[in-house]
């Protein structure tokens, strides 16, 4: 007989109330590291006759931390307008949430920001993307959205000057600019009605990414991850002789950390402005040679180590549910350098996973 | 994969609006079946069901084989469905579509798992010899409601089927040809029938029986109920689709019961007619010297 009858397991001895749970978790903030696995809830054995509704069952003190969940009626007052993350049932005026998240309000517009969702592109966003498909006159780029974005051939800087006309030769050589798997930084130029995005790289800031590493964290619209901010791209001085390091935080949650290479633009900045103006055509010429190169420059070990450390900082921020922006990354990096100083292995210790990541997050939270 | 052309938006809209006004394109009531024709072949175990333009042929066959080792006392009973490109270009040979998988699962659950055929009676020598009864379902023409038609065809074929008579004599198993001994019917326990409801409208509030292919393409959900005339549910399958009120599902079930009783009556009548047709005077007629000429 293959089946044995197990004695029924008693349910949990103590039945905690959600409120108690909440107080416990707030004390031990960063106890659960990395992936949060303790979403466990004791099952109450009450009959379903009393239907828990947000506003009736929870006390007002914790209401600020409450979220709305799918199917929850937010309001049936017809004065409000429904925004993203909500829907109106056909026969009523009740606005109902369609995602789990927090509520936001813009004048009369109610919307629910989901706890986590895929990136929704907006015009002007700086994104990091990866080419997944090359078509006749455009590339299809994965930007972590619900659809692939497209980058038309006409929206990139062609080698040999911005004002050069696009020719059929360029169409034939489309793979020499970007091929499948290439990473690039671009800006969202336009949106289609169905949510698809069109990108452009018509600036020296944008283009193919080289000399560094890629990290994917969840983007805006989701919990944690990259937030839209004033500066998404910056150059910072790395410690331990790492030189200058560029960080690109794509709004879509894709991050690029690379060694800073003196672009002619930056070189022109440092020299006299008159010379820059005079040499604009030269500058374009020199750009074109490296712009679509698939070769990395030489990177010193020190620089690589600091790039890896920065990558560790970004991952630690995400794992511990902190937002990723310039301030946090820079502070986190300095904190990580300090932590490495006092660690047993000295400044070369770039490990930031597990407990060390939590330690870093705790330090940043405390500061 | 070739696809069937989908109806256009306006076409869909027209069908739905008409249904909301209790009107079907072919003038039927919402709970009315298309004209149902059931005929049997000359051989035992062939049944041909025509439901409007939908036509399904089922053929039952039997052979003596070795039973499965884990079930030495049971015979083998299989239902094979094949949707060939003959029925619709969307079907391909050797690549089961979702429709085909669901159809074969439904027939399996309705007829086999509900114990309509007594598989123990198919056993000849425990662990060594048994009958393997197989029903092949061929869809000849597809115009919606394959499930109900196929189920009726399978049940009709099996009830019409006669397997050769056998006898055990001192450990020797002998199978008799029809000339030697009259073949015997299968040991049949009950006759389940499928009734498929299609739901239309935003909330799935319009329930329609025996949907045509066009209606099936437009519907938002469906629910297949299998019952026998004693009011036993053999299987219910509402596999997703637009949610439907629980109470209306219960109503659907009770209407289905009356339909199943109609099917059951029809099948009994047809079987009796067929029997009369075959049995012209019985044994005495064979002995007569004169023929039809």
């Amino acid at each position: 007989m293959p089946i044995t009858i197990l004695a029924p397991r008693p349910s949990r001895p103590t039945r905690k109330h959600p409120q108690e749970d909440a107080s416990v978790t707030s004390d031990t903030d960063s106890e659960a590291g990395g992936v949060d696995l303790d979403g466990d809830l004791p099952m109450t054995t009450t009959r379903p006759s009393k239907r828990a509704r947000l506003n009736t069952t929870t006390t007002q003190s914790t209401a600020a931390f409450e979220i709305v969940t799918p199917g929850e009626i937010i309001t049936d007052d017809p004065q409000w307008m429904r925004g993203h993350g909500t829907y109106v049932t056909p026969s009523t005026t009740a606005i109902t949430s369609s995602v789990a998240g927090t509520m936001t309000r813009t004048n009369k517009l109610l919307s629910v920001r989901p706890l986590r969702a895929r990136y929704t592109p907006e015009v002007g966003d700086l994104v990091v993307g990866r080419i997944v498909e090359v078509q006749a006159k455009r590339w299809r780029v994965d930007v972590g959205s619900t659809q692939l974005a497209s980058l038309p051939l006409s929206a990139i800087n062609l080698p040999g000057g911005i004002l050069r006309k696009r020719t059929e030769t360029d169409e034939l050589q489309i793979r020499t600019f970007f091929a499948e798997g290439d990473l690039l930084v671009a800006e969202v130029q336009q949106l289609f009605a169905d949510g698809g995005a069109v990108l452009h790289t018509r600036s020296l800031k944008y283009g193919k990414l080289r000399n560094g590493v890629f990290v994917a964290v969840s983007g805006t619209g989701g919990g944690g991850g990259v937030v839209r901010s004033r500066r998404q791209v910056w150059t910072m001085e790395a410690a331990n002789g790492g030189g200058l390091v560029d960080v690109v935080l794509g709004v879509n949650g894709y991050v690029w950390i690379s060694k800073h290479v003196e672009t002619p633009e930056a070189g022109a900045d440092s020299s006299s402005s008159s010379k820059a103006a005079a040499g604009i055509t030269n500058m374009e010429e020199s750009v074109s040679t490296t712009m679509y190169s698939s070769q990395n420059d030489r990177i010193e070990v020190e620089a690589m180590r600091e790039i890896a450390r920065l990558r560790g900082v970004v991952t630690a921020l995400v794992e511990n549910g902190l937002r990723v922006d310039e301030d946090m990354v820079v502070r986190g990096y300095h904190e990580a350098v300090e932590m490495a100083m006092v660690s047993a292995e000295g400044p070369d210790d770039i490990y930031l996973g597990g407990e060390r990541g939590q330690q870093l997050a705790a330090a940043l939270r405390g500061a | 994969m070739p696809r069937d052309a989908e109806p256009s938006l306006n076409e869909k809209q027209f069908v739905i609006t008409a249904l909301q006004e209790n009107l079907r394109l072919d003038g039927r009531e919402l709970d009315q079946y298309r004209p149902l024709e059931l005929s049997f072949g000359d051989q035992y175990g062939a049944a041909d069901v025509q439901l409007g333009k939908t036509r399904v042929l089922a053929k039952a066959t039997a052979e003596v084989t070795v039973p499965y080792t884990d079930r030495p006392l049971d015979g083998i009973f299989t239902i094979a469905t094949e949707l060939s490109p003959m029925a619709s270009p969307a079907f391909e040979v050797h690549r089961p579509t979702e429709t085909e998988v669901l159809l074969s699962r439904l027939l399996e659950k309705t007829v086999r798992r509900s114990g309509a055929l007594d598989t123990e009676s198919l056993c000849l020598v425990a662990g060594q010899k048994c009958w393997s009864v197989r029903v092949d379902v061929h869809v000849l023409s597809h115009d919606g409601n394959l499930i109900d038609a196929s189920c009726l065809a399978v049940v009709a074929a099996l009830r019409h089927f006669r397997k050769p008579d056998t006898s055990m004599d001192a450990g020797v198993l002998s199978v008799y040809t029809p000339a030697e001994r009259e073949p015997v019917p299968l040991s049949w326990l009950h006759s389940p029938f499928c009734v498929t409801w299609s739901f239309f409208g935003e909330e799935g509030e319009i329930a329609v029986l025996d949907a045509t292919w066009l209606e099936e393409q437009v519907r938002v959900g469906s629910c297949t109920v299998s019952l026998n005339k004693h009011g036993e549910i053999c299987q219910i399958a509402k596999l997703g689709g637009t949610p439907v009120d629980a109470v209306s599902l219960l109503q659907c079930t009770s209407v289905a019961l009356t339909k199943v009783k109609e099917f059951s009556g029809l099948l009994d009548r047809k079987l009796a007619e067929d029997l009369k047709r075959r049995d012209k005077g019985g044994f005495m007629s064979e002995l007569r010297a004169e023929n039809d000429r």
Binding site: G85, A100, T102, M103 | G204, V244
Partner: protein, 273 residues
């Protein structure tokens, strides 16, 4: 082995000590996989299921796998819901290999896909695909219900807009179909033994309404018994929904407290002005 139901009438307790209207312990987590768009882990008694959701995302140029899944809707104006179910060989008492083309698995895939497609607002994501991957780690009855619940939770975690939770559970009846006694009690949430021996059905409802998304009955039962079983099942679905909802709320509240997500504005604050 036939299930001994004779003691039920004496103590009104089932083989595992539950009363007729009690669910087994339901334990659920969301966001178990950091790399996925949405993920969940669900236990209903000893039935254990993991779910990972990817998408909605546009399937790349290399299509053609199909995944053996089931489309929720046409490819045109709405996202397609593709479900793949892997039943681990060690998940049930008798170790069995479940091939890819197993019809029962295909049916489960199609059912889960169609059930979720009914609730998810897939029309918001044209040209894309929602991939739901379910792994069955342990089976002890109510498998379809656990699969639907896990998939619903993972979709909530992935932030895919939906009308409401799709919550599922099973219901049964205390005596076999042959005995046509009116005194048979309905039972809630069948385990494997009960599922084998007693008539039962799986119900999934949309949110707190009485509207049934999935109704699957695979055993012979008197038609008069259906109403009682359905009522108990629908009631059980509401309990399950509560539990799922609490899991999501708890996770959300923790995220808000930790500052991962910005605080929302309460409804009361809005009512003031």
């Amino acid at each position: 082995m036939p299930l001994d139901t004779s003691t039920y009438n004496l103590a009104l307790l089932r083989v595992d000590g539950r009363r007729w209207n009690e669910l087994r312990r339901v334990h659920a987590q969301i966001r178990t996989q950091a790399a996925a768009d949405g993920s969940s882990y669900l236990e209903m008694g000893h039935t254990k299921v993991m779910c990972v959701v990817t998408g909605p995302s546009e399937p790349g140029p290399r299509r053609g796998t199909g995944g053996g899944g089931a489309g929720g809707a046409g490819a045109g104006g709405a996202a397609e819901v593709v479900v793949s179910i892997v039943i681990a060989g060690f998940s049930s008492v008798d170790r069995k290999r479940h091939g890819r083309g197993d019809k029962r698995t295909l049916e489960l895939q199609s059912t889960v896909a169609n059930a979720l497609a009914a609730s998810l607002h897939i029309h918001l994501f044209p040209h894309s695909q929602v991939n739901i991957s379910l792994h069955v780690l342990s089976q002890d009855g109510s498998l379809l219900a656990a699969l639907i619940n896990a998939a619903a939770l993972a979709c909530v975690d992935a932030g895919i807009p939906m009308t409401d939770y799709v919550a599922a559970c099973t219901a049964g009846s205390t005596s076999t179909y042959a005995a046509n006694d009116e005194g048979a009690d309905p039972l809630l949430d069948l385990n494997h033994q009960e599922e084998q021996e007693l008539p039962g059905l799986t119900v999934a409802t949309l949110g707190e309404s009485d509207r049934v998304v999935v109704l699957v009955c695979e055993s012979r039962v008197q038609v008069s018994r259906l109403e009682g079983m359905l009522a108990v099942g629908v009631d059980g679905c509401k309990q399950v929904r509560e539990i799922l909802d609490r899991v999501v709320r708890e996770k959300g509240r923790r995220m808000v407290q930790e500052g991962t997500v910005e605080k929302g504005i309460g409804l009361n604050e809005m009512d003031v002005d």
